[in-house]
Symmetry: C2
Subunit: 152 residues, 2 copies
DNA sequence: TCAAATAGTTAGATTAGTATAAAATTTTTA
DNA sequence: TAAAAATTTTATACTAATCTAACTATTTGA
């Protein structure tokens, strides 16, 4: 009956709910608005599932939703969505561009890890990646020999 | 009623079930055997939860369990448990020893990420860590300046 | 050696997240 | 502009994983 629950620490959401926020942000960037149907399609779930989730997110101030209308992010929702997207980005780049994990796998894994890793860790991964690019793997040759070493 | 389910691809388990295997392996290493009660304590769940999980794992050949007796890993179960432990280890060391994330957080995050990341990625993280230790961050000074850079 | 304490099991309830079926609303279009 | 199509909502059911309560089996120790 009660489907979603507020979590400790406050402003922290389940992986599932974070995915809804992330998807809404993505859709709004792509097409200016997000409808239940689009969210369902993007997440590969059915619209009643989206409805339930949106209801909870609205009640807890992450989104605004008028019946039968568009879904929009509040400031709180937008902030959280951006955070998750940022984590995804950093993890994807680390896996794909530095470790040469293929795009599909890198994306899948980033999609899951983004809900388990904290901002501190992910920021440090970003910094490490930057450092290595800048000072250790400057040219094509270095990068290729890294790829080689990682795959041997 | 039906509590756990076989997953695609075969031999792949939910995070929860992987944790049971991992815990059994850990207990067997520590005290030669694993009982329902120990597993429950280690995972912070109640014994009926362990019972349900063990029943499923036994039916699917990951563990052996005679009623009221000890729980043991099959070859399949041991293999999977070691794999998860290995992932945990690599992730923990990467976060704590290279990125200087504090032990508690590093452990927590490793505990979650270990179920989301594939062997390929985790092996590459291990290799990267090794490479950096060996060739780029050799002495105490290098390590400290890395710490500094990551935390600034 | 048998009563208490401990451990394991079974049955049934609960929760988060999802799905199906059908009703309500909105949009499209003939 | 009214009927058809599409979308959203509601009600209900299911699944994975957990829990509580009550029961059964095993171990311990007076």
């Amino acid at each position: 009956m009660a489907k979603f629950k507020k979590r400790e620490p406050l402003n922290s959401l389940s992986a599932s709910l974070e995915n809804y926020l992330e998807t809404i942000a993505m859709l709004k960037k792509e097409k200016e608005y997000a409808r239940i149907r689009d969210i369902a399609k993007a997440l590969n779930v059915k619209s009643p599932s989206v409805n339930t989730a949106i209801k909870f997110l609205a009640k807890n101030n992450f989104v605004i939703h008028e019946k039968y209308g568009y879904v929009d992010l509040t400031y709180l929702g937008k902030t959280l969505a951006l955070e998750v997207q940022k984590k995804h980005d950093i993890l994807y780049n680390f896996l794909n561009k530095l470790l040469f994990v293929n795009n599909k796998v890198a994306n899948q894994e980033a999609c899951e890890i983004e809900h388990s890793i904290g901002l501190e860790s992910v920021r440090k991964i970003e910094k490490l990646h930057l450092l290595l690019k800048k000072y250790f793997f400057k040219n094509e040759e270095d990068v290729l020999s890294l790829k080689n070493y990682l795959e041997e």
